[in-house]
Symmetry: C2
């Protein structure tokens, strides 16, 4: 765990944008032009930095990412767009690159203007502090209600050259299908074409951040940015090299996604919901998402109660084809429902024991076909309510 | 408020099906055949009593409703269906009617077999206790996590004859679109044809129970039953009489639906979410349901926080056509968002004052068209989590 990628530097400072005195403004800088790909929120209400980054990443290259916590710069209208642009310009000026080479990401309260004086004051110091060892500080600076920074690494070989992937993320609330209030930045020294990087990025997001859910809400700011600077010096990747890179990128994103759910607001349990035997992939996904997002199911997880009736009810309203009498349900290795009927109290007691741990799986076999979908979710707790009833006040 | 409908009797006993010693088994009996219409859960997993009642009401007539709390008789397979049927037979035998004239409704824990010995033992006493004044006891007996019994009445004129409508309901959790874990029984002495009764029932359900949401879950047992015995002696209703009856039925159901949300599990606030200016009715409904079911929005209601960013984010992921810069939002009379931008801290402080009451409205104008939808919801509280993490244990 070196937390370093050759050719990338990073830094973070406490600018005062976020309440308190913690780190809240971070910069990642690539010494040379890097290929860049991203994934952004599917919400129709997109924050200003998302709109700007979508534009700046469209040519497939970037040099810098500036990110802040404490203010989402969302629902801030034309002023918000100008503020995001000015932020990019401040970084560009101080580092000697073009503003269009800067990507911007923000997370925090929606609807409040960014205090640009603080940003302007902080950027020179941010650039001065750039260091190859700065990435972990960036992971800290982007935290909002996160309780720990999220970092994951991978090392692999492309031909005879070693390459590295280093990813950081923040999550916590509003985590749901098609991403979440989450930011994720991934750096690599691999030499890769933009089409390959885009393909690997989409596939990895689909296998990771699109398969987690904390509360069913989707934020205005979700952003995944991947930059690769080619310093590994591998030649053309080829099929084999590509698949190694994509595997590594997926592994890093899956690790970060899992950390996000484990650190879901107020969460005490990490639960994998698996739907098997669905008639189609779409039905498997729909059933998994409905179960994983049901507040009744999630409170039962919190109560360590194998309340399979709530799971059946969620399946029944998920819009999929199903037959009650064909459904089997397990908690880990304990079957609690067979052919739509409960297996009785002793099975439920065993299942409750499994649920007393911090991690468990709920597996549903619909026995209608061959399709399967997995999603990670967490429990719904008193602490979730506390955090979200008091977030702004 | 007489809580009596000529020709109907009712009773309730403590049979022991429900934990504790409260009323849990109830009977409503019509002295003469009545026309009957109903509405049932849209969940594909339907409880045994729902399946039986769907069949028994299909001919448009009924004489009795037997209802229990404490056990939903859902996910109980063939045995559950037999138990529902035997329950109907017990009532039929004791009252001298046919089993197919008996409607059955259950609410409570899913997946456990009904203790039929207790039912068999209780039915004779239940029939003996039948009384014209028994309806309020039925309203008590069907309660689960409800904190108060729900009763509503209406009196109107059909031609020169007065008619009466008396409704009772139970709700609490799993309340959502297309009904909920709710039971509702409505009795009337109006003389009405079965087609008219069915039409009035559907229209009234659509205007009431289909426009409330507590937690976004839909139960396996939702049942609305309406019986009319014709004792008001009005002749053919005509257009005018019909519309008076439907108005009265809607009023009774809306009153009960409002009580259900007010008594939502752990709820401290009743919130009307109104979407105006949508491009179509379907979009208005979709936007309203997404806002009303968002756990982030509902926890903000609890926190009395006019966190309009969460409302914007919910609108943005609801799948409707919208423009961020066209959205206006009010809390009661206080405009907090105009053209997609916050109106500032003083407006939010005023709005927070409105939200400190037990009831308020959130009005969103999308400014895209003429369509509108209203839905009642409640806040998501610590108490909701407590109730649902501990419901079975």
């Amino acid at each position: 765990m070196k937390h370093v990628i050759p050719g990338f530097k990073a830094s973070a400072v406490a600018s005062g944008i976020k309440k308190g005195s913690g780190l809240d403004l971070a910069l990642i800088f690539s010494e040379k032009p890097a290929v860049a790909a991203g994934g952004f929120t599917s919400n129709k209400v997109k924050a200003a930095p998302v709109i700007l980054s979508l534009e700046n990443i469209s040519d497939g290259s970037a040099r810098a990412i500036i990110a802040n916590s404490g203010n989402a710069n969302a629902c801030t209208g034309k002023q918000g767009l100008r503020d995001a642009q000015v932020t990019a310009e401040l970084v560009a000026k101080e580092t000697g690159i073009r503003p269009s080479e800067v990507l911007v990401a923000s997370t925090g309260v929606i609807g409040a203007p960014v205090d640009m004086d603080r940003v302007a004051k902080a950027v020179p110091g941010l650039v001065k502090a750039l260091s190859p060892k700065g990435i972990p500080r960036v992971a800290e600076a982007i935290m909002t209600t996160d309780s720990f920074p999220k970092i994951a690494e991978f090392e692999g070989m492309a031909g005879d050259k070693p390459f590295h992937i280093l990813g950081i993320a923040k999550g916590a609330g509003m985590i749901m299908p098609q991403m979440a209030t989450m930011l994720c930045f991934v750096l690599s020294d691999i030499q890769i074409g933009i089409d390959e990087l885009r393909k690997a990025t989409s596939a990895s997001i689909d296998a990771s951040f699109n398969r987690i859910s904390v509360d069913g809400d989707t934020s205005t700011n979700d952003t995944v940015l991947v930059m690769a600077n080619g310093m590994a010096g591998n030649g053309p990747l080829g099929v084999n090299g590509y698949s190694k890179f994509q595997g590594g990128l997926s592994a890093v994103m899956c690790e970060l996604a899992t950390m996000i759910v484990r650190d879901g607001e107020g969460a005490t349990k990490l639960v994998e919901v698996v739907i098997k035997g669905a008639g189609s992939n779409a039905e498997a996904e729909s059933a998994a998402r409905t179960v994983a997002n049901s507040t009744l199911v999630k409170t039962a997880f919190y109560g360590q109660d194998p309340n399979w009736g709530r799971i059946m009810a969620a399946l029944g309203r998920s819009g999929i084809k199903m037959k009650e009498e064909d459904v089997d349900i397990w908690v880990n290795d304990v079957m609690i429902v067979e052919g739509g009927r409960g297996k009785g109290l002793s099975a439920e007691k065993e299942a409750a024991k499994r649920m007393s741990g911090e991690e468990f799986s709920v597996v549903v076999d619909l026995n209608q076909g061959q399709s399967e979908f997995r999603i990670l979710t967490c429990d719904l707790t008193h602490e979730y309510v506390t955090i979200n009833a008091e977030y702004r006040t």
